[in-house]
Amino acid sequence: MTTDSIKKAKDAFEFIFAETAKVVVGQQQVIKQIIIAILTESNALLEGYPGLAKTLTVSTLAKLMDLKFSRIQGTPDLMPSDITGTYVLEETKNGREFKFQPGPLFSNVVLMDEINRATPKTQSALLEAMQERQVTVGNHTYKLERPFFVLATQNPIEQEGTYPLPEAQSDRFLFKIKTDYPTFNDELEIVSRYTEFNEKGGPELKPLLKKETIFQLQQLVRQIPIAQDVRKYAVELVKKTRERKELIEYGASPRASIGLVLAAKANALLDGRNYVTKNDVREMVYPVLRHRIIINFEAERNNFNEDDVIGYLLK
């Protein structure tokens, strides 16, 4: 892979943005961060109010990247076997046999809606898949097909009766992506598109990237060179979260440092560059750190949220 490949990758992603824009209006930062999570072979947590096109964005991206997509709705009665799969009794020529029926986890892109509504047992089954890229059912371990990407969503309101993800588990998500309401013009566009009659039923989306291309791009991300001082800068930022006790109760782990450097590299690739800058690190620090730090009472008393504290650290 050469610089031409990097330029081609940039063009391809620009095309993906353009095609996604046919279905999803606005939310450019959300789309960019989801693509970065895919490129870094990581997972992302999406937080936003209902009706902000979270599911639509992920399913559209999955179609454009020629990836198998599955959706799981988190409910309190959801069992681990509902997502991992289970053994079912099947009639065969030789008689009845137990055959493993893979669950929705056996896809390339898995959207877990309202993960905080699922029980901790189900959450941990999902998290094993996220971390190990495998599923254990009974005595057997089944490898998941690559690329494998989980996008979990959370509703910031109506948290009653939910099972919030523990710190140890939320740490496994590379990003916590925040979705916000669209601007007035964007909402006007949304209303125009989705209230008018369309003979075709909607825009036709053709796959732009193949699985092999995505593997190559994931390798390319890791090959992007990074300067020592940029790497040090990323690690220093994460280290500060553990040292600034006046605002932060618990800081981020080294997993955050790894995630931040990888995300910065992916950001550089999306920009068509073969080098990483401090601006890439600064751009990625918010989604990487906001779910990994726990702010203390003093920060809450001053009406600071995680983003405000991260902004304070950047200064």
Binding site: M1, T2, T3, S5, I6, L220, Q223, I224, P225, I226, A227, Q228, D229, V230, N274, Y275, V276, T277
Partner: protein, 263 residues
């Protein structure tokens, strides 16, 4: 990549040279300042080499630690972030890294000592060195030392007769008056006047002329009265000065008076 490593070595040499040059120029300024100070206090200028060498050593060491590719990237925007990334990954030979190395090598020809140096700063330092050299030359030529400067400063700083009050009146030199009375002769205590007045008068007996008997032709001049005293006139010195007049000279004067008094 060997070519890149060689190129980066050359770049580092340029950086070291620029850093050393800046340290040297700063040290020369320090040397001149100390030389000037030591001259004021009548201390040999050789001792000014000590702070010069100390400053040169520490400043050079500090400069060497501080320099980095960032200094080049600031001056050459095309190399921003690329140069340091390439330098830190110089050992990598994969395609992506090689592309970056080639990008950097293409632009490295723009790197030169003159481009990296801060020209404004260098020019102002050179001007400071010239100024200090001029000042040093002026001070040494006029042998101005601290002992001379202090009284002059004290006089000019006097609030009553200070320079800024009296400078408008150029004929008025009384600003020089401080505690002592001074006139055009200088300090009173330096010059001792004589108590005696200097008497300068002609010997009237010798110089009397009878106007009535005045002969136009000058013949037969008669003088009123007679010359009293002997014809011997001695050459006398002034009472205010003691002058030794030789005997020969005295005789000459004597003969002259005799000749003019002969009828």
């Amino acid at each position: 990549m060997d070519i890149l490593k060689q190129a980066l070595k050359q770049v580092k040499h340029i950086l070291f040279f620029v850093s050393f040059f800046n340290s040297f120029v700063n040290s020369v300024i320090v040397l001149l300042i100390f030389t000037l100070l030591f001259f004021f206090f009548n201390i040999s200028w050789i001792y000014a080499l000590i702070p010069f060498l100390l400053f040169l050593t520490f400043n050079t060491a500090k400069g060497m630690k501080k320099i980095g590719y960032y200094d080049i990237e600031k001056k050459i925007p095309d190399l921003e972030w690329r140069l340091r990334t390439s330098a830190d990954n110089a050992d990598r030979n994969d395609d992506v890294a090689l592309d970056l190395h080639h990008d950097v090598l293409e632009k490295l020809h723009q790197v030169s000592a003159t481009r990296i140096m801060n020209k404004k700063q260098t020019i102002s330092k050179m001007a400071a060195i010239l100024g200090l050299c001029f000042l040093l030359g002026f001070v040494s030529l006029n042998s101005i030392q601290f002992d001379d400067v202090l009284p002059a400063l004290q006089r000019s700083m006097n609030p009553v007769t200070g320079f800024f009050v009296k400078a408008a009146n150029l004929t008025d030199v009384s600003f020089l008056d401080t505690e002592k009375n001074r006139d055009i002769y200088g300090e009173e205590e330096d010059i001792k006047y004589s108590n005696k007045e200097e008497v300068v008068e002609l010997n009237q007996m010798l110089g009397l002329v009878d106007i009535n008997n005045y002969n136009r032709n000058g013949e037969g001049k008669t003088f009123k009265g007679t010359i009293t005293g002997t014809g011997n006139r001695e050459a006398l010195g002034s009472e205010n000065s003691k002058e030794k007049i030789g005997d020969e000279d005295k005789q000459i004067v004597n003969n002259y008076f005799r000749s003019i008094n002969q009828p």
